[in-house]
């Protein structure tokens, strides 16, 4: 799968200097990403909040590039075969997306209609990836604690759970985000990695995006799930009614996925909560 993973050629001369030659596919990746139409490649996922009465409303909007969409488009770099390159694309597009959202003319189109209404009237909370370098100045800034920004309105920066492999650094990045008025969500928590974590409740984050699977109901995970505050959880990948039922039984109120959006469409009283 990794094209660079081939065997070494015969022993060669030592490195004398870079050969800045063109390697068309990989070399052109960043230029290709710079021209990719954002609106086409972005996946819009509406997050819903379900009340104790069963009523639901819009909680947030997750905007992220879709690997499938990028694979469908003319992909000069074999992007879809190399998850590192997709990860790079995600980071590059995150920078473009942040810039576009700051432009009122582009913002409305990217956010689009939600629950039958244009979102400009009641802008939803955004869950967005962070570009490279967004929290690079962590060490340079003063490192005092900052209060968590308002849960209802502050935008949410989404980082992969693998960033928790450096817990101290992640905690510093979270403080930096708070100072800038953002909250932090870790995404990619699942039954598979939850079983590895001794203290998921101690992860330095404001929200955890937990990917639903039937394995979450296994008894081995019950104690880990019990230790986490359901108010910090967003259950993602809810494409089946069983996901919503499981989450609501655990006290989770926020959901993402096809089934969650279907629930929103069916609710006559649907409105932003």
């Amino acid at each position: 799968m990794n094209r660079t993973d081939g065997p070494a050629k015969a022993p060669a001369p030592a490195i004398a200097g870079a050969v800045w030659a063109e390697a068309p596919a990989l070399a052109g990746l960043d230029a290709w990403l710079a021209g990719l139409p954002l609106a086409v490649v972005l996946r819009r996922r509406i997050g819903i909040a379900v009340g104790s009465d069963g009523g639901c409303g819009v909680a947030h909007l997750r905007l992220a590039p879709s690997l499938a969409e990028m694979r469908r488009m003319a992909d000069p770099a074999g992007l879809g075969d190399d998850l590192d390159l997709f990860d790079h694309a995600r980071r590059v597009l995150a920078r473009r997306l942040l810039a576009a959202l700051a432009d009122p003319g582009l913002r409305a189109g990217l956010i689009g209609p939600i629950a039958g209404r244009m979102a400009a009237a009641a802008p939803p909370q955004l869950h967005l990836d962070l570009p490279d370098g967004a929290t690079a100045a962590v060490a340079a800034e003063e490192d005092g604690p900052a209060p968590e920004p308002d849960a209802a309105s502050a935008p949410v920066a989404v980082l992969p759970l693998s960033e928790a492999a450096a817990p101290e650094l992640l905690a510093a990045r979270r403080r930096m985000l708070h100072r800038r008025g953002w909250r932090l969500a870790l995404t990619g928590l699942s039954a598979g990695n939850l079983v590895l974590l001794a203290a998921p409740e101690a992860l330095p984050t404001d929200l955890l995006r937990l990917r639903w699977s039937a394995e979450l109901a296994e008894p081995a995970l019950a104690s880990a799930l019990d230790r986490m505050d359901p108010a910090r959880l967003v259950l993602t990948g809810c494409h089946r009614p069983a996901a919503l039922a499981w989450g609501r039984a655990r006290g989770i109120a926020r959901f993402e996925g096809a089934e969650a959006e279907a629930l929103l469409r069916r609710a006559p009283w649907a409105e932003a909560r």
Binding site: M1, N2, T4, D5, G6, P7, A8, K9, A12, P13, A14, I15, G17, A18, V19, W20, A21, E22, A23, A25, L26, A27, G28, L29, D30, A31, A77, D82, D84, L85, D87, H88, R91, D132, G133, T135, A136, A137, V138, A139, P160, L161, S162, E163, A164, A165, A166, P167, E168, L169, G188, S190, G192, N193, V195, L196, L197, A198, A199, A202
Partner: protein, 439 residues
């Protein structure tokens, strides 16, 4: 080591603040110091320079495995009258009790730390130190703190001595502000600031360059050694090989072009380099001269053709000599992929390590749940700020406890000293390379 200390400092009273003109002899102490100073050591070195020299001496002792007796006098915390900051009779008593240090032994070195603490160091047998300790015990009254006088041995107690030196300089922890010269790839991206960005074009060019290059100059090889504080020789266990990102950037990247600024591209480049290191191991000449080796690899590399070739070429009995370092971020990103790599590697007889661990990671992601055999703990001066309880808790989570831990990045004796205190006996880093000497 700066055994030839600044002679201008030799006549100073250890209790004078730095910069004080103490040229006039005021006690038997300073007289003795001056007299000895003319002939050579001991040399009295008050102030920050003394702390720096003490740190250098401790590091040298650890690096060369040379024994020293240490008398640590926490005079800084005593009543000023007792430590002799004034001409109070009690202070004079302390000074007179210390006078024997200067009379019999030219091998004793005395360090007057900036906070008023005093450290005497001598090679064993250090009778003058013992005499001074006994005299001081008689002089100090019951109000003195219990640890006002401590007798320590180098190199075992290097951490405690370094901590005293660091504390006297106003630094917390035992690192004494020494920069760790081992350049770990920075974990956070840095803003390029107008320099050439590390983008896909730069990566593509680099991959072409590296595809046919000899990677010897950009590979860091360090021997993981078993090293006990009780003066056994460093016993080599295996050779750790990994890309030397600093050397790589210097060799093939324009200034300011930093792979850390694009972590995803950097990871792909890392996979390329991992595969090349594995291909080198599978070379017939390497296989004939097979030595135990450690590599950090990603799951993709384990499943790639280079590793398949090595696996096919490596005799079954040699596989236990290959330590595969797996990364926590890979386990979190793809736990099932991680598990299948781990199980396949274990079934083939390879040893598995958790690479680049920190105590906070061990608590969050216990190695037992990951199913690895070893933990490669990354040295950082921050480790010295851990409480003994937190350290013990984190290391107890490692398979086999501290005995299953390799402390990597050991560049200064503070790291070695911390490891020994924690019960760690496997080490890797520039200091270990120096201690092994030329091979």
């Amino acid at each position: 080591m700066s055994a030839a200390a600044c002679p201008a400092e030799a006549g100073r009273d250890p209790w004078d603040p730095p910069g004080t003109d103490a040229a006039a002899p005021r006690s038997a102490w300073t007289n003795a110091a001056k007299a000895q100073g003319a002939a050579g050591p001991p040399v009295l070195l008050p102030g920050p320079q003394a702390a720096a020299d003490l740190i250098a001496l401790v590091e040298e002792s650890v690096a060369t495995d040379s024994r020293r007796e240490v008398l640590l006098l926490r005079l800084g915390g005593l009543d000023p009258r007792q430590r002799g900051a004034s001409a109070h009779p009690a202070g004079r008593l302390v000074r007179e009790a210390l006078a024997p240090l200067f009379e019999g032994s030219v091998r004793t070195r005395l360090f007057g730390l900036p906070n008023g603490d005093l450290v005497a160091v001598a090679p064993p047998p250090a009778h003058p130190l013992e005499a001074a300790r006994e005299a001081l015990t008689r002089v100090l009254d019951a109000t003195a703190p219990p640890d006002a006088i401590r007798t320590l041995r180098l190199p075992e107690a290097a951490a405690a001595v370094l901590a005293a030196a660091a504390e006297s300089l106003g630094l917390t922890g035992a690192a004494a502000g020494r920069e760790d010269p081992t350049a770990w790839p920075s974990s956070g991206p840095s803003a390029p600031g107008g320099a050439t960005a590390f983008d896909s074009a730069a990566l593509a060019a680099l991959e072409r360059t590296l595809a046919a290059a000899d990677l010897g100059a950009v590979t860091r090889r360090q021997t993981v050694c078993r090293l006990d504080p009780d003066h056994g020789p460093a016993a080599p266990l295996w050779e750790d090989r990994r890309p030397d990102w600093t050397a790589l950037a210097a060799a093939v990247l324009p200034p300011g072009c930093d792979p850390a600024a694009a972590p995803a591209l950097r990871r792909r480049l890392g996979r390329l380099l991992e595969a090349r290191l594995i291909a080198e191991l599978a070379h017939p000449a390497s296989l004939r001269a097979w030595r135990p080796t450690g590599l950090a690899i990603s799951p993709e590399t384990f499943g790639g053709p280079a590793f398949a070739r090595l696996d096919a070429a490596l005799p079954a009995m040699s596989r236990a000599g290959l330590v595969l370092g797996l990364r926590a971020e890979d386990a979190l990103a793809d736990p099932s992929g991680f598990a299948s790599v781990r199980d396949a590697a274990r079934a083939r007889g390879y040893r598995l390590a958790l690479d680049a661990a920190t105590p906070a990671l061990l608590v969050l992601l216990p190695p037992a749940r990951l199913g690895v055999d070893l933990v490669r703990l990354r040295w950082s001066p921050d480790l010295t700020t851990l409480s003994a309880e937190a350290r013990a808790h984190a290391l107890a989570l490692c398979p086999g406890g501290p005995a299953g831990v390799v402390l990597a990045g050991v560049a200064a004796s503070a790291a070695l000293a911390w490891g020994w205190e924690a019960g760690i006996t496997m080490f890797q880093g520039p200091l270990i390379e120096r201690r092994r000497g030329p091979h």
